[in-house]
Each structure stands twice: as structure tokens, then as C-alpha cells.
Symmetry: C2
Subunit: 519 residues, 2 copies
Amino acid sequence: MGCTKGAIGVVGTNGAADGGSVKETVGVTVDGIVEGRVGDERWLGCFAPKIKPMHLKMSHGFTIRAKGMTVSNDFKAVEIPHQWYNLIADLPDKPPPVLHPKTFEPVKPDDLSPLFPDALIKQEMSSDRFIDIPDEVVDIYRLWRPTPLIRAKRLEKLLNTPARIYYKYEGVSPAGSHKPNTAVPQVWYNAQEGVKSVVTETGAGQWGSALAFACALFGLNCEVWQVRASYDQKPYRKLMMQTWGAKVHPSPSTITEAGRKILQMDPSSPGSLGIAISEAVEIAATHANTKYCLGSVLNHVLLHQTVIGEECIKQMEAIGETPDVIIGCTGGGSNFAGLTFPFIREKLKGKINPLIRAVEPTACPSLTKGVYAYDYGDTAGMTPLMKMHTLGHDFIPDPIHAGGLRYHGMAPLISHVYELGFMEALAIPQIECFQGAIKFARSEGLIPAPEPTHAIAATIREALHCRETGEAKVILMAMCGHGHFDLPAYDKYLQGNMVDLAFADERIQASLDNIPQIV
Amino acid sequence: MGCTKGAIGVVGTNGAADGGSVKETVGVTVDGIVEGRVGDERWLGCFAPKIKPMHLKMSHGFTIRAKGMTVSNDFKAVEIPHQWYNLIADLPDKPPPVLHPKTFEPVKPDDLSPLFPDALIKQEMSSDRFIDIPDEVVDIYRLWRPTPLIRAKRLEKLLNTPARIYYKYEGVSPAGSHKPNTAVPQVWYNAQEGVKSVVTETGAGQWGSALAFACALFGLNCEVWQVRASYDQKPYRKLMMQTWGAKVHPSPSTITEAGRKILQMDPSSPGSLGIAISEAVEIAATHANTKYCLGSVLNHVLLHQTVIGEECIKQMEAIGETPDVIIGCTGGGSNFAGLTFPFIREKLKGKINPLIRAVEPTACPSLTKGVYAYDYGDTAGMTPLMKMHTLGHDFIPDPIHAGGLRYHGMAPLISHVYELGFMEALAIPQIECFQGAIKFARSEGLIPAPEPTHAIAATIREALHCRETGEAKVILMAMCGHGHFDLPAYDKYLQGNMVDLAFADERIQASLDNIPQIV
């Protein structure tokens, strides 16, 4: 890794990060641990990537142990953040209110209490800038946090790009993605308020696994409606949830009224996140001592995920890098928000000026082809109305492999940030994503889940653009999970059997017509 | 976590670790990183597990970020070892030589060169105490190292034991186990010497995946013979290897003479590691520019794995703990040796005195029911003769789920250490192992591979014994991999369909009779 100066305070183009001033050099101790990150009023600058060889007399005959130590990739030596960040506090315009589905009035905390514990409702409506992470939650975060920030040196070499590519890897969590970052606090707050059972939906299975994991730790019952397409494609995800003690149903199911309705219309329905949400919400609303948990979309979920970006800011500071482009995939948007929101805060302060880029599948392009309107979060229309980019609450995306991105809407807070112009979006078809994933797996060594392959494909596009222009941009990518349970999708790609499902604009017209008219 | 004094210098019973003298308190910086690990002539002692809340003014509005920080579980802040450790240098008696399969004379480096590159042959025969890890290898280790050392607080609570249980978790590697620790250097040394292709066997698929991963990074061709039982039980492992670009064959296969012979005798042979080794060795010996890689057993493999134990020693020092019992599972023995050999060095010095305990499956009990004799490493008798604990080179274990432990022999170096009395061994049947695994998964949150469930079951036995005696022993356990690809085995267990395959002593008599008679 070159010793690059951090470009702090430079507001301007997203070109090379070589400009800018370095305020101070980071101290480095002999054992390779970076000091001086606490109490500094600066975006930290350059430091020597390699410590000179030291020949020290050490304990237990560990002579010369310190020889050749590098700190170049040792991003792990930052502390876990102890506060989540709420972007709403820093936005120039506040997001539109969430509306009651019957009265069309802004929802009150009481309206949400059949579904969520009070602490989470408070977070959902909070405009506090920082919210303390409970110690018990941090203690469990330590199982996998801090997650690594990795320089993709071998991918850079493969692409022959002058860009410097970094990825923040959340796949080291026990459930294999960023989802436990919010599953753990959600279950913890429920447990604190005496809730005995939680129910949820899951698309790719990542969220259901994360919730099953968290419930196992806190002794809550867990019941999951897994989108049929994913239930069939990913049997191991179901087994993982069951190993942690959860009950799993394919969705649509015959257990709920919402599920039965869908099955009447289409007995072979592949399901969708919207349908599975309806089923879980129905159960929570009709059962005592049972609450509902959502894996994305809502403010409190995005809030919990900001632990990713807060940690990443410190890691990038520690190596003296400043991102020029930040790329993440979006389904409901929690992983994307988790990484980017803390950076958007820095951007709003004028300290850095990265492009923030969301990537969605062409088969489910809510940001790039949806409308910005009030719509339901679920298919049956049981949730409050949220102003968001939506393809219509009864739109059922094709069963692409990135099951976690098959959601008709977008987190209202991301939609708002998009409308404010603080980020951009593009859609990429799945074959290009898997092409990128194979490049990534064979150069970087990690097999990505189908969802982050969208971020990888967009990163490769940007890196190849840099090769043309000669710009040494710093690209930061959200690598939100591993693909251990998605290997049949890789097999399909490697056998040449994967297809790009064409997105028919006329198909969404029908579902767009069903969006409620809120004046 | 209690603030326990390290019991350094206390040679005696394996009772409570509360005795002993503490020479110095570790310094702790404000950001929770432990200092003073370099250049110290001590086993580090007690330090405060929690830093008092600090209210610091930080950059970017991160006020009060430092509040409530704990270092109690922050084991990651040690550097990656830059040398492997060779236990042979410190043994009072040297291990018996490896013999040529035809001449019965000790093998010379030239005898091994059809199979291995010179650098690895040199390591195989080395008696140097420490061997430098190449910088390029350390650079790749950084993808997952240092691996976490985790206190199993929730399991302790579940078992209501006074014991303190720690596990060193190697499942964070891209291939999901400890195996990449040796796959990466093996492929790197081969690449340095211009080798274009490597071949290997794999049992559970962990080793094959690790080698495929390493080959992808260095651009070598990789061909893997996967034991039939595992090939059928774990289709995802095959897909993982293919995703990294490897070719995978079920073993026994019709490609090799060794495979064809076995299939003639038993067309539905479940295969064994011994057979798969024969197949891979045959291909390496008969193809130009193709070398063979082994995932366990050999000295250089065990050597590479000592990165686990070296790292763990530093991590335990940093928290002021001294292990009373160290437990690991053994198949070929590389994970067990990797964790324990550096601790055995400390034990030989009289600095600590832990019990070192190997756990094997009752279906393949080489240490507890095998003989200590010269035998072949493979079924066809193509490898050199090694003095080891063996069930006979043509013993084919039942297809238990812990495929990685289905090896007829034991690493010669572990066998020697066992004979010297520096460690003990026991065998546990698989149902008890999966019972333990479910307890572990639902309390600690990680789903173990079937192999380390043996270590977990033995750890639970020890912890329950501590509950009876009231001893607050420190148990250190090798948790060598995750079970993401073994979920059908969990399903079988949860459905009540798992059986304990009885081990018939008379069954091994036949294979023991085939062990060559070396006088």
C-alpha cells in the first residue's frame, strides 16, 4: 500500500485522493498497534505502512518476533463504537412522517406498540444524533466486531487499475452478514420488556438467521416466514435457523390470512419480502406477548447498522485514507445506510466529499425505476404508510438469486436522502454481478453473497473507469455477507445456466396503479 | 470476566489457576489496546477488565465515544506471529525417522522431491526452533488473522460451571477452518519454485477448500480428490472449491489405478482419506510440474499451524490467563498440534503445566485403540513409512459426519509426543458431540463443524467435572471451523436420526495385521 495523504477538508471533484493536507502523523507502537486515535480533532493522515525490522529479545524465546511486522492491513485494532448514529439529526430537511394506514395521520408511538417494544419505537422516532449501544449488545458485537476493512490489492492488480479499493467485510458475523448488528439489539430490547416470542420475515435467509442467532442467545422463541424462492433455493439457511432453535415456514404459507390470499391467486407464488412481512405482522398483531422484528427499511434498523460506518471511519482514519466513492447494494437499504450514513455526516460537514452510490438489481429497481410516494411496507397493506421509492406494494420481483434485494420499496430515510441529492443509484443485472463475484472470489479469496455482488460489479465498473482516466480514486465498498449458502447460484453461473431476467416496465405499471393516493 | 492472576512458574497440579505470582500489571492505553507485550520476560498478569468511563472530546462529534469501553474480550489486538514454531527443537528425544517404503532406510530429501517443493522438504526435516513466515504469507493471513480467542461466558452459565472456558476460533478464515494456515504457505512455496499444478485429497472438504482458495490467489491449478462420503454429504464444499476454480473428483475415482483397485473390491466404497491420498499422490508422481499437498499429518503442516498457538499464547498473556487444560480434536492432528505445540514448549520450560488432551471419534480411534508402529500414510502404500498411532493403512472408518477425523493414522510428531507422555487422549461418540454442539451453538452463537464438536464435548465433560469439584479451571479449546456446510448433519441430529456407529475391535484386527513389519 502506498503512503497516501488523506484529503481532508478538500471539497471538490471526486478525482485522485492525493491532494489535501495531513495534519499529523499517527503514532505507532512497537507492536504494530496504532495509537492516538482518541481525542484527536483531525482526520488522521499518513503513516509509514511498514515498521522497520526490530530485533527484540522477547519472552518465551520469541526472539525476532517483531521482525518485518507490518501494520498495513491491520485495521482491526480500533475499538467497537459505543454509539449508533442517527442521520436525521443532521439533515437540512426532516423526512416526511410515517402515516397511519387507516387515518392517514402521522403515526403515534401507541400505534406501533402492538408490533415493537417501546425502546425501539422511541429509537424509530428519535432525532437524537447519537444513541448509546447497551453494554450487553456491545459484548455480543465482540464475537465478530470490529469487522475487517480490507484493501483489495489482488483485485486491483487483476483489473490493472490505479484505484485503491477497500471493502468493509460484515460476513465474519456468526450468521454471515451485517444483519446481526440489528438483530442483537432488537432481541435485547424485546427481552428487556419481557417479550417471549418474536416473528419475522426473511428474504435471502440472512435476516432470519441473524434473528434466530440473537434469539438463541437471549432465550426468546423465534418464528420466521422465509420467502418461498429462497426457502427452496437455500435449504441450508433454513437448517441454520433450526439449529439455533427457530421455527421456519415458507412464505406464502397457509398459516396466515395474508398467505392464504396470495396462494389462492397464485398457488406457485415464489413469494416476496412484502408478503412475508404481511404474514409475520399478522401473527404479531394477533398474538399476545409476541412482537415483530424487521430486518431493514425502518429508521431503528438503519440506526443499528451505523456501527459499520462508524467503525469504518475510524479504520480509514487509522490508515490515512479518504474515500472518493462509497458503493453498497440496496434491497431495503440497511447495509447501505449502515456504511454510508456516518460518511454522509462527514460530507455534510464539508470534511470529505465522496460520491455515495447505491446499486440495485435490474429485476427490482426501486430507486432507479420506482416512484417516490407513500406506500405500504408489506403486500397486504397492514403496515403504516411510508414515503419511499417503491415499485408498488404488490409488485413481486422475479426470483433472482439476490433474494435480499427483492423488496418493492426502499428505506424511507434512504429515499429521502436520495431526494435531497446526497447519493446516486444504478441498477445492474445479475450475470454481470456474478462475473464480478467470480473475479472477486478468485483474487480476494472471499465468496460474496449474491447481494453484495451488485456492489462488486459497480466497484469493478468504477475501477475500470479509473484505468481509462488514470485516476487513483479511493473506492470503499460494502461487502455485507458471504455466499456460503448461495453456492448453487454460483454453480448455475459457472455452468452457464444463469439468465438475466428482463425487467418489463409495463409490469410495474399495474402495481404502481395500486399505490394509495395520499394528497 | 474476573480479574484472575496468571499462574506463571507454578509447576504442579492442574487445579485452580488462582495461585501463582503476578510479576507486572499490563499497561492499558485509553483506547483499550493493551501495551507492553513486546520484550517482556514474563507471562503477563492481571489487569482491570474494564476501563473507567472517559468523556473525551473527539473528532467528528464523537463525544463520549470512549464511554464504557471494555477490553475484556478485545483479544484481537495482538500482532500476527511472524515465525512458525518447530517443537522438534525442544523435545528431549527426537522422533523416529521416516522410512523409504521400498528400502526401509530413512528417507532423503531427494526421495520426497517428486511430491514436494524443496522449501517444504527442508521444513519437513528441519530441527530449527523457529522458521520465518514469508511476508507474502503473512499478508494473506491478515485476511482472517489474528483469529479471535473468545471467552465462552454464555456456555459457562448454561453449564453452571466455575470453570473459565476459552476457545480459539479458526472458522473466520475464508475457507472456514484452520486449513488455510498451511494451504497458503504450501501453495506459495510451490509457486516460488515454478510449480503450475497441485493435487490433494480432502476428507470433510475443509482442506480441499483451503487449497482451492490458496491456488486461486496464486494462480495455480488445483485438483482435489474428495472422499466419497463427504462428496455426497457435502455438495456445497464441492461447489466452493469449484467457485475458486478447482477441479473436484469423488474418491475412490476411476481416474487412478489406486482408485480403480478399491472400486473393484467395493463399488460402493465410501472412501477414506487414505484412499484419496493414494489417488492424489499417484497423479503427482506421474505428472510433470505437478506436486502434491497434504492437509495434515506431516511435520511442515503441523509447523504452519503453530501460528494458532503462538497467537493464542499472546492473547492469553494479554488477558492474564493461564490454561489448565487444553483440548482439541484430532484427525491427522494439525489443528491440535497447531494450538498445543507452542503451549507444550512453555510446559517443557516449566512455565505452565496444562493438561494437553486430544479427542478423537470412537469410530476412528487411532490414539486410543491404534498401535504405535511404522505404517503407510495412504491406503495403497505409496507414501513413506511413518512411525505413528495407526489403525492400519487399509482401515476404512465408518462414514461419520466428522469427515476430517476419518484418518487411519496420527501425525508422527503427535504420536511421538503422546508416547513421551506430554499429552493424553480420549474418544467420544458422535451423538454426545452433537449434543454439545447444539448447546454451544445456542449459547455461544457459532455453529461448529462436526470435527470440533469432539473438543466441545470433551470441554463440557471437563466443565461439568469442575462443577462437581468446584475447581475454577481455565479450559482452552480449539474451535477449528464452522459447520456451514454440515447443516444436514445437524438436521439429522435434530430429527433424531443420528446413530452412534459401534466400533468393533475385531474390525481393526484385519487392518492391523496388514501393517508392514519393520524391525
